[in-house]
Symmetry: C2
Subunit: 645 residues, 2 copies
């Protein structure tokens, strides 16, 4: 068997010969021809066996591949990955690319009992009948809280696009502790915390999270086909209380979100300034926008009562439409023009620029934040003069990462490449210096990259060591396992002039965005505090069954290899609330608790308390057993629920 | 930063100094002292920083580590992993240890829409109101279908312990296609397909799947504390129809299951022959059993009507209790004695032996199958004479794998080791040759290993290249990420005399069992056949909305970057059935379909059709969007559901 094995299945598309057109040639020839190229990633030649160029293994200069950790060796970076429509957040170790944890947020998780325990149901939200309000989710973007321009290890946030929810993750216990639904928003997509207060310099840390609304809808909601009545909102959520502070009514939609290091500006790229309802209409204009928000002015307007509310929501909504914000000196928003259907807006670690990528234009646009502030201050007349570069990068540019040495790395979806380009040289080129070679390097990736990020890229401490790139199509990169392919997260060494591809990592669909940062920035806790749970059963002697009519409370503790109650009796139809405290104190000594036939299974980590409420079923013996391997006598660790007639 | 980094968190248990007792010393000292050692894995010293012995990186002879694949390089083995209480099956590539796919079975999966689409709900089973009967699961063991002593790539099966269900996975499309609930069984644990028919030599392939029932319950079920009335059943399921063929009433319980290559025998180890209800009672006897089933005789008895039925179940139940099977010449079952609370029974690839591991005894027991058949045939008087070896291996032996060269590899849970031992030498030693050195090698693993398997180990084609071992505790092996640790699946090179640890792989809890085999044995399909779906919308022209009273059917197709209907209207309260066919034909071109506020999200793979039924909510505009990245215009790929009042 050779290293570059061909796929093993006869049925694979990649076996179909495509002698005339290699993957690269096809993209370059047709995509440049215009809109036809947008379908390039659907062409069969895209799944052909890699050409010599893309198949060549990374030349890693003979040094050990740093993604290949020795047994027992720890990763040096934490990665926080969104899970897409698995609805979770994932924790990866970088550079190994290994997934260490999944954190359930918006969607039930059978492993931990998320959506089963009373505690998790309260966070997720329930209907009046006690069942979960939502059972699906679609997480896209995850970002963490800042202090002094770097991550401070308190929180991360993640969006749910399907039901417009924002979840907060505590980065000490790595659990979701709050979920908020945004009012009057559909398709909540981009999310970014602020990095400082726009007014109070003492607050050089995150206190707000900004959320972009992507889908225009009637406000308030009603059923109408007339898309001219549809509008989107940009939302500010309080980082601590997780309550919605205010919203901004917009022209056009919101896609991704970025924030400045001084706290003064947030921005969202807008790919549908046309307000179209069909994709042809959404891409009819040659230029769209990146809309900037003047945070201090918006909050002054809210304070001054210059807002309305929409429907039953009490959230103040200020007017950020173009018509109402023509006067720079009072404007809350500023719409900088950027080329056709931009995707992605990213803040450079030197705090100077936001970069928008063109998607349907082969360009990257560099916007200088000081100039946007100049416009707001009336010091610069034409807003678009804030654009200090707009340079050609390649086909289908989407997202941009940074190495802290002045270089940007942008994914080219259609080209299946990363382009490394130098910001100052791009600015010089745009200014007229045609000798400025701003493209430094290009690297083929596999295939169709979306999000990209570099180590510490979204902080002032960008260290330029590794790049992760989320490739949307894996095609032939892994053993074929039926029609559903994994995504391919690739790790790239960016420590030198040339990028070096280090490794492929299959991931369950569909991570979109991710960040990764030095492990020293977090201080995780691996054992809970017993007192943190008001309903904790602190002593096995407190175990027992109490009845109040048809309502029964069962209190129990776990200590390997036994539950404190060896059996307990209830009656058919009882509403049983079972409270379980894990008294084991050692890290990694988690217990599970399953009841056959009752849809109950959940875990309790060391010193954790969790509870479930269920209706006792038909008479019989139900062996409740430990589902999380804990001890040599794990199989024998059980209690009996006797359901009497 | 050094290679052997210490954990980064101040709060980690491992920071607590444990100068007196290293991990190894602790286990060896106390565990040998008896039952106290059973709690060894809960001791804090277990999470102390690794000692020099366990921390030493693998000496891999300077050769490239074969688990470290170059970018684009494919794995050489498929691995099928159970997911534990995530309720799924997982597909891994080996030797890299990368997870390529999760196959939802018993538990809803928000990514693919498992438990959301009508097609998946039909497989999972629903209550009269249309909601899912079960939302939790606990998969433990997965094994695949055989032909001529090797895997034939048709099916795999996996158990659900919580609700006693068996799921079948098609290994062409890698999807679950049938789930059967076992009647009158609680705690369905061990599972194994047969490898041949016991009577018809032409059927040298799998036609039955055997399932062990672990928890004794009253038969029929009723609420009683008297455990003497509890019994377990061993169940045979038809591999093709997935219907339950017959069951065997037993003394004692069933744990793991093994089958012989000639189809004549199946067996299950029994850890609770005492029929105890508490762990102390379950471990009171010095010896338990491995119960053998004479398949041909059982099926003759069923055919002859020598069975009863239990409760409302119509499944024939034959009597396999000790009292009724004393006469070898007519016995359906044979209870071979094995030491205290055995865990695991494994068939050697030379087709000669079943090996039981002692768990609470430091021994492995080798049972010769020809001798068990001799006993059934009346040729051997004492059944326990089938035991040809019972040798000391170490503390907490659980499961055994094989290299095809006469060696066995057994996990030692308490010792945190794998012991490599030679079967023929063990037999010679047991026979009296005290010079026979049956232990070949020992390897520390990290930590508390449960299941183990080797490449092709459960087939006649065992190739002795790689070993995978499922370590239940990861402790300090990965970056700390809160209280819930991953498991640690380690890959070991067994091609030489000495075992070599190659790599650590964190996996989401809790894989139990797994198999891995040469990739050439499977022929996966990566595009569906349109005609395989009776409700397929084969032409975009067939799209549309039809109404029948309050029931509305919406037919739609997807072709990147558009759905065939750009909008559709329904009325509040309508029961809407939406049928979506993905007309894209290219592998990896999967689309998703989400409806905000309606708990609808599912995917359609190339040429697949899926449907959902939901009640239309409040009046408004609902943007249904593609959730699975498909195209440069993926964000623009939407349709509008207009809900009218």
């Amino acid at each position: 068997m050779q290293d570059r094995s061909t796929p093993v299945s006869d049925s694979m598309e990649s076996r179909e010969p495509q002698p005339e057109l290699g993957r690269r040639r096809f993209f370059n020839a047709t995509a440049l021809a215009g809109i036809a190229g947008l379908a390039a990633c659907t062409d069969k030649s895209g799944s052909a066996a890699p050409t010599a160029a893309s198949a060549a293994p990374a030349a890693h200069g003979g040094a050990a591949n740093p993604t290949h950790l020795k047994p027992g060796e720890l990763d040096t970076y934490y990665g926080l990955w969104s899970g897409g429509h698995t609805g979770d957040m994932r924790v990866l170790g970088i550079p190994s690319g290994r997934e260490i944890l999944r954190i359930p947020c918006f969607v039930p998780d059978a492993l931990v009992g998320w959506g089963i325990t009373n505690e998790s149901k309260k966070i997720m939200g329930t209907k009046p009948d006690g069942s979960l309000r939502y059972t699906v989710g679609d997480t896209h973007h995850t970002h963490a809280s800042y202090k002094d321009g770097n991550y401070d290890g308190r929180y991360a946030w993640i969006n749910d696009k399907i039901n417009s929810r924002i979840a907060r993750i505590r980065l000490d216990y790595f659990v979701c502790d709050k979920i908020t639904q945004l009012p009057n928003v559909q398709g909540f997509h981009g999310i970014f915390p602020d990095k400082a207060d726009p007014v109070d310099p003492a607050k050089n840390f995150t206190t707000r999270v900004f959320c972009g609304g992507e889908f225009g809808i009637p406000l308030p909601q009603k059923g109408t086909l007339d898309e001219k009545q549809y509008r989107s909102l940009f939302t500010c959520v309080d980082a601590e209380t997780m309550e919605v502070r205010w919203q901004v009514l917009l022209d056009g939609n919101c896609d991704l979100v970025a924030t400045s290091y001084d706290g003064k500006l947030a921005a969202s790229n807008q790919y549908n300034t046309e307000g179209g309802a069909k994709y042809e209409d959404m891409m009819s204009a040659e230029r769209d926008s990146c809309v900037f928000f003047n945070i201090a002015r918006i909050e002054e307007a809210v304070k001054a009562g210059k807002f309305k509310t929409i429907g039953t929501s009490k959230v103040p909504v200020v007017d950020g439409t173009r018509e109402s914000n023509k006067d720079a000196k009072s404007a809350l928003t500023a719409y900088v023009s950027v080329p056709k259907n931009p995707h992605g807006v990213n803040a450079s670690p030197d705090a100077k620029y936001f970069i928008c990528a063109g998607k349907l234009s082969p360009t990257g646009t560099v916007i200088e934040l000081a100039k946007v502030l100049d416009w707001f201050d009336g010091k610069m007349e034409k807003l678009d003069d804030a654009i200090v570069a707009e340079v050609e990068l390649g086909l289908g540019p989407l997202h941009t990462a940074f190495d802290g040495r002045g270089n940007a790395y942008t994914t080219l979806f259609l080209d299946s490449q990363i382009v490394k380009w130098n910001l100052e040289k791009a600015i010089a080129f745009y200014k007229g210096d045609k000798t400025a070679k701003y493209v430094v390097d290009r690297l083929d990736v596999h295939y169709q990259p979306g999000h990209i990020n570099a180590s510490q890229s979204e902080t002032k401490a960008a260290d330029g060591k590794f790049l992760a790139v989320g490739c949307k199509f894996a095609k032939d990169r892994f053993l074929p396992a039926g029609p559903l392919h994994p995504e391919n997260e690739q790790i790239v060494d960016i420590s030198g002039e040339k990028m070096v591809l280090l490794g492929d990592h299959p991931v369950r669909g569909e991570p979109h965005d991710f960040i990764f940062f030095k492990r020293e920035l977090l201080s995780p806790k691996q054992v809970y505090e017993l007192d943190a749970f008001p309903n904790a059963v602190k002593d096995p002697k407190d175990s027992g069954v109490t009845r109040n009519g048809k309502k029964v409370t069962v209190k129990m503790t776990s200590q390997a290899p036994a539950f404190s109650l060896r059996e307990f009796s209830v009656k058919k139809g009882d509403e049983v609330t079972l409270i379980l405290t894990n008294l084991d104190k050692v890290q990694d000594l988690t217990h599970g608790f399953a009841i056959p036939g009752h849809n109950v299974n959940f875990i309790v980590n060391p010193q954790e308390t969790a509870s479930v409420t269920f209706t006792a079923g038909d008479p019989g013996v139900y062996w409740c057993y430990c589902t999380h391997f804990c001890h040599a006598l794990h199989l024998e660790m059980r209690t009996r629920m006797i359901v009497e007639a």
